[in-house]
């Protein structure tokens, strides 16, 4: 965790140093105590954008609001003098792919164990763990059993999951739901509250249509509308699903076809954080009050959009692999209630 914070600060600084003289990233943010909540949020958003531009020597271009992927921490606390980002709220683990055994990572069990050690080693334990799917590689009972056994090593015991498309390839699509379906009455989507934050877990890997993207479907969208009805717009919302809830790369199916109908329901909220996995790399987009973020995998990296024939396992040098695997941790500040994302690699 300390490493993640350090990385975030480092890249904030590098953003300053590398700034384009014409960009709006020129000035460090003003002191937070002098700012209203709105301005503070705006300042943080700007800072986040600037960090993205400066990260690790890669030039990022905001094309249509979408940032190209990076392998390094993009987000973190960049407040005055690097003050603490707040209380650890949850850690996002994604794409553990238990059962994968190819060259790109012959030891995904070891990588998950390393991930768990990283989380357990955090100075302050997160209240929750969120797994954004592809728990297993081939939806096999033994893979699910092993994944559950490994994940039970987490000191934080409250685990919330959504399935990935790799978790639903068994003939009857029951292996995932037999183990994790209780929270959603076997529907796959559910919501809960923690520390004043409203969490919405969604499933977008069923109802695939040939040639299409991920799908939420009318039933789930109607459920979200009912779930949000009457909820105060000041409630911070965290939405998580396996496949990206915005279109990152359509030719590879990296998006959700009916996500717009979800976003139109979320737009009135002052703070919305949308978390996904699936693409095994960090991509972030900021749009109004909404932060979209995909997490690294703990199993193997995937190519940047459009590089190569398809989104398969990317083989990299052994020493590079742990740098491309990792987790996202999210902290919350009480006043004002601001969520902060930090990405931490395994090495």
């Amino acid at each position: 965790m300390a490493e993640g914070e350090w990385q975030a600060k480092k890249f904030w600084n590098s953003g300053i140093n590398r700034r384009d003289e014409k960009s709006s990233c020129r000035n460090p943010p003003p002191k937070e105590k002098d700012m209203s909540d709105d301005k503070l949020l705006q300042s943080r958003r700007n800072a986040l954008k600037c960090m993205a531009y400066g990260g690790a020597g890669t030039l990022f271009v905001l094309a249509g609001g979408v940032l190209t992927p990076v392998n390094l921490a993009m987000a973190g606390d960049y407040g005055k003098g690097g003050s603490k980002p707040g209380k650890p709220l949850f850690v996002q683990i994604s794409d553990t792919h238990i059962g994968f055994n190819k060259e790109a990572n012959p030891d995904v069990n070891g990588s998950l164990t390393q991930t768990i050690d990283l989380v357990n080693g955090m100075a302050e334990q997160p209240a929750l763990i969120i797994h954004t799917g592809d728990i297993t590689h081939l939806s096999k009972p033994a893979e699910f059993d092993l994944a559950q056994q490994l994940l039970s090593g987490l000191h934080t015991t409250e685990l919330h999951t959504v399935p990935g498309e790799h978790d639903t390839t068994d003939p009857t699509v029951t292996e995932y739901f037999n183990r994790f379906g209780k929270a959603s009455d076997n529907k796959g989507y559910y919501s809960f509250d923690h520390a004043g934050v409203h969490f919405i877990a969604l499933i977008n890997v069923l109802e695939f249509k040939a040639g299409g993207l991920g799908t939420l479907g009318p039933d789930q969208l109607a459920w979200v509308a009912a779930d949000l009805k009457g909820r105060s717009s000041s409630t911070p919302i965290v939405v998580f699903a396996h496949m990206p809830l915005w279109t990152i790369y359509e030719p590879w199916g990296w998006g959700t076809g009916d996500a717009d109908q979800l976003m139109s329901q979320l737009r009135r909220f002052g703070s919305v954080t949308v978390l996904n996995g699936h693409i095994h790399q960090i991509v972030q987009k900021l749009e109004g009050n909404m932060t979209f973020h995909t997490a690294r995998s703990t199993s193997y990296p995937q190519p940047a959009p459009g590089e190569g024939p398809g989104p398969g396992p990317l083989k990299v040098a052994a020493d590079l692999l742990p740098k491309m695997l990792g987790i996202t941790s999210v902290s919350v500040q009480p006043h004002p209630r601001v969520l902060t994302l930090v990405d931490t690699a395994l090495a």
Partner: protein
């Protein structure tokens, strides 16, 4: 799952031909037709076959794929590298297929 398609007497003959082919060679007129189709680089090989042919798809990618008939006639489990799935097309027609893990992977099987 895989064997549920081998229910017709003709297919049982086909299995017998596979099992005893070496000891009891059958003429091609007796043996059911079979063909193999690779799944590679996130693509299904295009197929044009005769009615009665059994197609065996073999996944040659490092990434799992499935073979799903759009009309719901068949659906494989997740196929890991070199794993295979077979289906026999008895009737002529055009059969669209896709991969349920990568729904952008689509193809058609033309049965004449």
């Amino acid at each position: 799952m895989i064997f549920k398609h081998f229910q017709t007497p003709l297919m049982l003959l086909g299995l017998a031909a596979l099992g005893f082919g070496a000891a009891w060679p059958l003429t091609t007129a007796w043996a059911a037709q079979e063909t193999q189709a690779f799944i590679k680089d996130f693509k299904f090989a295009p197929l044009t076959i005769k009615a009665g042919t059994t197609v065996t798809w073999v996944n040659k990618d490092d990434e799992p794929h499935t073979v799903v008939g759009d009309a719901g006639l068949f659906r494989s489990s997740g196929l890991d590298t070199d794993e295979r799935f077979s289906y026999t097309f008895d009737k002529p027609g055009v059969y669209p297929i896709h991969c349920s893990i990568h729904p952008r992977m689509v193809a058609t099987v033309v049965v004449e």
